[in-house]
Point group: D2
Chain length 335, copies 4
Amino acid sequence: MSLRVGVIGTGAIGRVHIERITNRLTGAAIVAVNDVSRSLAEKAVQDFGINAEVFTSGVDLIRSDSVDAVIVASWGPTHEEFVLAAIAAGKPVFCEKPLAVTAGGCKAIVEAEMAAGRKLVQVGFMRRYDLAYRQLKDVIVNNRIGAPLTLNCAHRAPAAPGFAGDMAITDSCVHEFDVLRWLLADDYVSAQVILPRKTSLCDEQLQDPHVIQLRTRSGVHISIESFVNAQYGYDIRCQVTGETGIAHLAQPISVTLQTAATEQSAIIVDWQERFVDAFDREFQCWINDTLKGEMNGPSAWDGYVVAVTADACVKAKYSGLIEAISLPETPAFYA
Amino acid sequence: MSLRVGVIGTGAIGRVHIERITNRLTGAAIVAVNDVSRSLAEKAVQDFGINAEVFTSGVDLIRSDSVDAVIVASWGPTHEEFVLAAIAAGKPVFCEKPLAVTAGGCKAIVEAEMAAGRKLVQVGFMRRYDLAYRQLKDVIVNNRIGAPLTLNCAHRAPAAPGFAGDMAITDSCVHEFDVLRWLLADDYVSAQVILPRKTSLCDEQLQDPHVIQLRTRSGVHISIESFVNAQYGYDIRCQVTGETGIAHLAQPISVTLQTAATEQSAIIVDWQERFVDAFDREFQCWINDTLKGEMNGPSAWDGYVVAVTADACVKAKYSGLIEAISLPETPAFYA
Amino acid sequence: MSLRVGVIGTGAIGRVHIERITNRLTGAAIVAVNDVSRSLAEKAVQDFGINAEVFTSGVDLIRSDSVDAVIVASWGPTHEEFVLAAIAAGKPVFCEKPLAVTAGGCKAIVEAEMAAGRKLVQVGFMRRYDLAYRQLKDVIVNNRIGAPLTLNCAHRAPAAPGFAGDMAITDSCVHEFDVLRWLLADDYVSAQVILPRKTSLCDEQLQDPHVIQLRTRSGVHISIESFVNAQYGYDIRCQVTGETGIAHLAQPISVTLQTAATEQSAIIVDWQERFVDAFDREFQCWINDTLKGEMNGPSAWDGYVVAVTADACVKAKYSGLIEAISLPETPAFYA
Amino acid sequence: MSLRVGVIGTGAIGRVHIERITNRLTGAAIVAVNDVSRSLAEKAVQDFGINAEVFTSGVDLIRSDSVDAVIVASWGPTHEEFVLAAIAAGKPVFCEKPLAVTAGGCKAIVEAEMAAGRKLVQVGFMRRYDLAYRQLKDVIVNNRIGAPLTLNCAHRAPAAPGFAGDMAITDSCVHEFDVLRWLLADDYVSAQVILPRKTSLCDEQLQDPHVIQLRTRSGVHISIESFVNAQYGYDIRCQVTGETGIAHLAQPISVTLQTAATEQSAIIVDWQERFVDAFDREFQCWINDTLKGEMNGPSAWDGYVVAVTADACVKAKYSGLIEAISLPETPAFYA
């Protein structure tokens, strides 16, 4: 009794999800694909040897009787339409971030889903499924370091070739916004963005690094160093200072070498390698939950909160001020 | 086109393999089970909700037309019979260690398999599938530390309640014997066993720790500290000294804490937790290979070599001498 | 040809300096002591078996022909007077921080010293002599991580029994202010102080932790987590993010243990243990320099800059704003 | 009341001791020097600006009324004569290892010292003064890992240009022999030497590495990997497996870098850098003890035990057997 999944968007990220569901995970089969480039969709069918129908229209795919659930991995600006269509069709939908490219779009999805009366939407914030973040959350939940007071995080990548404008905030830090809120089970109340000395090793139009600071309802101070042209590797750090101790996010395993007058271990360079296990767990959980008629992952509401937070950070970046993050109470539907 | 698997032995280890194949891996289904205790077999069917026939006889299960491949996870002394039956039936068989309880039994399997003309047997040496060991092998293969000269290994467990006699060698160090030979792509030529001061924290009949020393054909000196009542945790270490550097087996990830005047990370206590990912990969590879008609894992020959090595270590333990490990040339069939 | 040193202030810190100069360092002898409590001064003479005259007046000690150089380790508010007296007497003076309790007092010292035409004053910022900070500075100077962009520092102590008001800034963070400026060879231009959720494990009048943020002329963003009731230990951290890499301040050596399901190393609890070697080197350098008629340590100007920085931080703490740090150009005398 | 020290041997090691006593330590002055090369002795006087008489004869220096205590840092084969002369003159003598080049010579010194009725001889085994070894000993003494059962040590150097024959044992491992015996407060009963595959990166006449194995009276098994052409650095390791845990010798502090896809810290290359603090403490203690008429460091007996142990190891290297280490009971004089 396999879950019949349709995938909209068969570019880079869509293909890796097709591959994992087909070759490594259990309980689901890709039965339908769609892409703005029909040939790309056909190529995915062929490359992974799947028995999937190629749809010319994403909305048709969603409505097809042969599709039980949908993965949206297309271009960001198209997400809102497809997610709303899936809700309209009453079908579970996994949407890669962003849920929508505006906070308003996210809110529309939230309202549609609440009107539909059932949680159908999961957003692709895979870090919640990363073992290292889970260990860190366990430490906090089990009170091993006391109440959290400050967080010191870093999101570093070797380079960000296509980045422009505020993508460091809207495209990569959104993962931080989601996972830290989940980690603390707390909400953000304000944001400040500091623009340190710029690295000379990137497009001179671009500000890099940013230091993004958030404050939570309970007063926790969060600092995120976003540095997407850090050269040396892809490196995700999170340190929590609590009342009685400090906890640090574990790093990927690496053989340790003593060679050439140094003791050294490897830092990964490719971000996909860092979260490959998290992606696997995320999709296996989504498949299992969906087969049981449940949705326990990051919700449309979480996607909306992240969008509002990103908006406040962008505003703070240009104002230089501490900007409020104003959100309605979490609806009971999502609590 | 799922691989139809029969499982012989539905005790502890059999159950975890049924669970992983059913819930986490892809490409196979458990269609038949057998155990000396029929009720235990029935319980497995029920607990994991699988659609599997319960066989009263392991050999009947092997011969059944509804079974494509067999997993042998029964009591050690029964392995030889079941593996030979699988070979006779021309069916792929995954056999938990030991392949047979005597080197002679292993050799009989090797001969039967060669006579059958096709590699059908894989032995459950899961460490080869552990990412940390794979990283270590990559370091050696890529010549990052030069030619290996010495190995310093440790196999430590918190306690070994059921251990008696030479089980430290024959039951747990066999994993070291297999994985180190694979790591070095070399063969053993002699063994010495040193009996250090005994820990007071175990059955006083038992020698613990042992220091087991092996020499390879190319002259690499291997030392393995086997300490199965080490109290503090389950801890597998492997350090390779090469001509230009040293490499250390990576350890499982753990959040790092600063608390109570210490900086600390967790050491696991349960051995299954240490190798859970390796088991998953081992079985997924076995399923994939078997569906393709291949066998690329630890072979019957590897199981035989390990048995001969264990015999030499037991002999050396009582003689106090350096004992030769005599093996015929690896048959072309297994090279 | 030993340096004849007079010590003003024979309380806790004065005593450890007498002890180190007498028992561990070379080239100097304590020949005179003074304290507001004459009996305390007499006790120091007796306890360390030194051949030193006890002076009733600090100023008399400074002026005595038997004294070549002076160490001021008395109560903070007395420092300014004694340092000015030493300058007036033309004698080298080592002054524990603070140089003076107000920026104005520091400025008066700077002006007196410049008028005297010779650098006579060294301020007790011992971190510059710490090997770990020196290694970190070497990394920056040798361009091993590219130009520094952000600094992430922590100053944590298990508890701060006597702390009140803004002492976290004025009493302990002053060491950060001095050493980071030295590390970067840069000057501060603004300060911001964030007040995170307070720990419940200290006097409820006290804000703890503080997050102190400084910006340098070249745009480096510095964040200092000052947490003086951190319970778990005395822990000084400094991480520099540069254009091509990250560098972390080394921590004191500690035996690593694997025990009780953890891998652990010790964190020191007593701050004096952390910087004992730095103190030794600081005083040995001061003795050697003084014997050569030189002064190469932290200067009166450095003491003044730190005082102005601390004032700006205190102001920022209460305003909640980013406050400017306004300093005149460094006089050529001190460059 | 400075200790007036005469130094015999002003080559490399003699010079660094003159330098440290003159510039860094307290309580002693170098008042006399001697070397087989008079010009080398004169050069030391000049280079370090010391007020020392140059003696043509080492024995004359020892007997001089202006000399309170002697440091022997000359060529190894001359040590025995000078130490015996110092004992005859009733003067404290610090002798760099070896105490004598034969076990018989060491024994003669032991007997002469016992006849003199007072401990006058300290041998230059500086590792006992290394903080990392002291931490490790504290762990054992405080029973933090239970009774020691096995030790796993490594002594690695980048290269050993002048090494020939068995110098790896007789010249460098002697430090291991002394410090491990001190660490365990135990005595050796047998030795075995394993000759692993040789590195290709050294003189092909030389065996390198050696694995030297010792057994103590209480049954502790010690393994020392001596690898003097290890290329990558100077690296001293010591791991103790106890009944309840493992302890590892701390390594020198080093800034940690994240750069070029690696996390790395430095390994030192120059052995003198590794033990510079230990040398300082060793000599300061010797000065302090000598001024008090005491001798608390490694004794002539310790030097003798090391010589007997080295002899057994050399014998074992060529016999391939486990060789007994036979020593008389420790005389009460040295207990």
